[in-house]
Each structure stands twice: as structure tokens, then as C-alpha cells.
Subunit: 349 residues, 2 copies
Amino acid sequence: MEIDQLETPVVVVDVERLEANIRRLQVYLDEHGIANWPHIKTHKIPWIAQQQIAAGAAGITCQKIGEAEIMARAGMEKIFLPYNILGAAKLSRLMKLAQQIELSVTADSAVTIDGLSAAAREHNLALPVLVEFDTGLSRCGVPTPEQAADLARRIEATPNLVFDGLMTYPVNPQTDIFVREVKGLLSNDGIAVRRVSVGGTPQMWQAHQHPDVTEYRAGMYVYGDRYTLRSGAMQLEQVAFSLIATVVSRPTPERGILDAGSKSLSSDLMGLEGHGLILEYPQARIYHLSEEHGHVDFSDCPQRPVIGERVTVIPNHCCSVTNLFNQVVAVRQGRVETVWSVAARGAVQ
Amino acid sequence: MEIDQLETPVVVVDVERLEANIRRLQVYLDEHGIANWPHIKTHKIPWIAQQQIAAGAAGITCQKIGEAEIMARAGMEKIFLPYNILGAAKLSRLMKLAQQIELSVTADSAVTIDGLSAAAREHNLALPVLVEFDTGLSRCGVPTPEQAADLARRIEATPNLVFDGLMTYPVNPQTDIFVREVKGLLSNDGIAVRRVSVGGTPQMWQAHQHPDVTEYRAGMYVYGDRYTLRSGAMQLEQVAFSLIATVVSRPTPERGILDAGSKSLSSDLMGLEGHGLILEYPQARIYHLSEEHGHVDFSDCPQRPVIGERVTVIPNHCCSVTNLFNQVVAVRQGRVETVWSVAARGAVQ
């Protein structure tokens, strides 16, 4: 089938670009001796995870137990789940998974550690736990090296948990200072920081500038999007992910309406102006999204589309768009190769 | 099962409130002789559509062919699809549907009308088409009464199409002026405007103030959300839709992190500040969303949550949240009654 025959809106992935993106980061991380733990939240597709492993990734990163369960069923043997897992039901699922594969998690509080400890004891497991720290994002993560060291000691003192290292997102100069301070604090206790896991596609080519980093989690690098383009980490000809839409209305000479709205492109702005880049009309501005309509201003375009015309949109944020589609279409050299189910989409957290 | 046992993040629908919301709008529209065509894009659940019909709705409104196909399979016999349907594949699906149920669509251009006409001729159908007009939203819809009248004449002159009336969203004072002008223009041609379809939950209680309106499409009124609350069309004790999340981190005295981010709450702001109302902590501000984390500032709260605590969030926009979940949980008097599949979620456009 040709791309032109696909019904819109549809997400299309260029498989050759995808494969090149997977290789490129792997080669770079291999060169610098950094283990690759790609984040599958971006694609949620087992086949792509398998390609990442085949290319040399040490394991994969998931953001939800549901994603990890689906990836484990698809043959993934090493999964990092950098999330505070809390509550009896989730801890039970986590332990079941830890019995099947090589699983590690994170914690940023005594509450999380104590929950993991009780569950691991009950299941007679030795669960590796990394301490999450914050270096500016203000999300999860302890804010001081002292707190990180305290949690590391607490993990190490717990029979069924193993302190495995430190985790943060994204990576920046503060990361190095923080890690060195924690290492200093823990050296007196004889506690080693085996893993230092950082992530982020925008910063991926600077990973080697952080001497303590042992592993890297990047997600968007497989696809690319408008946010990744703006960061400079990828070029337009490397972007493997696009959404094809149809112009369904041209109510005025300037305005065009696409059949892709917030339920296709998501409302994620990521600090950008507008909701996507239209490749055929790069001066166009997708200035508003209704649920199933994209509102476009074509004022600055020397040529403008007619009703029924198809356009190719690079979305702001590929991770959120993936999460809105049950399937994405894989194309190779302009022809449809296969249709992938976004298997881990909508998985229970 | 009790609500407390559900794994988070989870969307919970209070069935008694839902039923009351369905009744309340139906009673109001019945009183004023306005036909009710509720928009199922909000819930995408056949059972709820069936309740809307059972309560007295004339038919349902869908926004995508995929939604209409699923609702037709669930027994819906009258569906309004207010969208410009273009392209061979979609027109073929549309005609198949029009052979099974009473279907009407909209058009705002000659291109759309000609496509519908060719497809209807091929299938030997008489398809009812309404002309979409714009009264300020600047989405689809012709901007002038003259253009609307021209399209009405074009539809009426086409053997396999039937001009059925006018459609817009939302409804406002301009709507009345526009409709009267079109009626005036068409009266010389002996063309009647049978249906005047308008919509919008925020304006629903003013429907009777628009004398030409014959039918109403509201979507969010079944659930309610933070946007609907702000509009004044619903009160907090009527909102049937909430998301239960868990506090997974408390990195600082002020900050709390929920296990619900943009992949659960969506990034839709709808002109509001923040990303949801936390019922237990109404002064809290969900000031940022990562994909699987909600960032909350509890500074203004006299009491603050502990790690592992569950909170109830009224999202900004229920339609977008529905679209992110495969299932929602129906509760009655605090107990889980059933789990609904969001059947039309992710349906092909």
C-alpha cells in the first residue's frame, strides 16, 4: 500500500530513519563506554524495543509497571523502572515482574523504600534500587546529597534491597557535582555507587562530558519531533515520526482546518509556538487545536493548500502523540511495510 | 470492590450523577421543544449513549466516522456527524454507514458537497447534509449567510443529497442573525431550513433563547469538568467525572508529585490556570505536568498530603482525559459497579 492511500490522521514512522537513529546513539554511547537504556515510553512498541536491544542496548527503561509487563512479555530481560512504586497492588505486580526479569527501580523517600522492602522480603527477592535526585527539574528526587546518601544507607541496610546507584533527569553540570558529593558521603560507609543513570534526548550528545555517568536513558531519539529539532540534538532529515492530515476546510483565504486536533497532536506545547511543523508549508502556523480540528494560519505561505490536500506534520512531542494512537504505520522508502500496534499504550500505570 | 482498592491513576464516573445530568438536560430541552442530539465524543461509551437515547434523545452526535461505526454497532439508529468527510476511503465507509442507519453530515465547501454527491449517487442514497457556518469560533464553517445559502442551493440541486439545515458551534447572538438571513435568502428559492443544530455545554441552559434552534448537541454535560464548572453551567456536586491519583513523592515541604501527568490529565488548559482541581486540597495548584507525573504546589494548603495518599482530581477537560484511557470505572454510592471500555477511543477518524 502507498502512503497516499492511508486514511488520515495517521502516524507514519520511517523505518530506515528509525534504524539509523537507533544505531547513531548506540555507536556514540559505545564509544564512550556508557550503557544504553533507551526509554520505551516514546514508542511503546515491542518490535522497536527489540531493535534497540539488538543494536546493543543494555536493557530498556519503562515509566509504568504496565509498560514493563508488556515489554517483559515481548522478551525484554532487563528493565529499569525509574518510578516510586507505592501501594499493595502495584508492589505485588512489581514483585511478580522481578521474579521473571532483571528489574531495578528508584525511590526518593523512606516511604517508598520501606514499601519496596516489605514486598521484596515477602517474595524473598533482592531488589536493586537507585536513589532519585533532583538537579533542577523540580519533579521527584531528593534535593540534597545528604538526603541521597541517607536513603542509600537505608536501602543498603535493608536485607531484601540492594543500593544500586543514583538516577536523575535530565543531565546537567549540577549532576556531576551532586554525584561526587554523594560518593564522598558514602565512601566512609563503604557503599559503592555502581550506576549513575541520566537521560534526555536533547542532551544526549553531551553524555560523555559527565564523567560519573554510567548509563543513559533517551526516549525521543528514535523518532524525533519539533521539540527535539529545536534542541539541536536531531536534524529534520533524521526525524522518523510524522502525522499525515487532510485539509478539510478552507473557510477564508488565510485559514485552513486539518482533521488532526488535540486528540491526535496532543496539546503539548513544550515551550514551542504552535502545535506542529507542516513540512509542505513550513511558514504555516498551527495556532489552535480543537479536539478533532487543527486551526492553521497560511497567511505567510506563498502557496496555500486546497481542500482535500494531505499535509505532513512534525508534532511538537512524539511521546504524547504515540500515546493517542492505537496503531502507527511503518513505511520504508515511501511504501507501507507494516502496521504496529502501540502495544503498551493505555497500559495500567 | 471499593474505590480505595483501584490502582491509580484511574478515571471514576459517578453513575447517579451521570444519570441525573442526562435527565436534567433532557427535561430542559423537552420543555423548550428542542431535540437533543448529545455528543458522544465526551464519553465514547455505548452504554452511556444508550442511556441518553432511553432518556429521550433524538439521536447522537459523533465527531469521527470511527466513533459512528462503533455506536451504530451498539444499536444507535440516528447519528449526526458534523464533519467535512473527504476522500474515497472515508466516503466509502460513510456510505456503508448511511445504508445501515439514519445518518446526516455537514459540509462547508463545494468540494465536500461534490464528494458526498458522487458517493451518494454511486450508492443510490439520499444523504441529508447540513451547511456548517461560523459565528465567531473561526474553525470550519462558511463566514457569510450568502455563502451558506449558495451551498444550500448546491446541495438542493444535487439529486442524491438533501439540504437538511444549518449547523454551528457554539451558539451565540450572532447565530440567530445568521440563521434568519440564510432563511430569508433561501425563501425565494422555496428551500426550507428544517434543522438548526447548535451545541456546547457551557451555553446549554440558554438554548431556548435562540428561537430558530431546533436541536442541541452537548457533550460534556454528562460528566462535567473544571472547564464546565468555570462556565457556570454545572455545579461541583453535579460533576460525575474524576481522576484518582496517588501522591508518589514529597521532595520539599511545598511540592507534591502525583502519578498522573499529561498522559492521564492531558495538557488541555482550556484557558484555565493549572491542570486540575484537587478536591481534598482545593488550594493546591497542579502547576506542571510531565508525562507520568503531576507537579503540585501545596504552599497554600493548611494541611498537606503524605506520600502514598490518594487524591481526587477534577480535570480541566473530561473529553481529552476520556481519550487517554482504555477503561473508566463506574461507581454507585462509593462502590465499583462496573468497568466500561472506552469503546470508541482511538477509533479511526
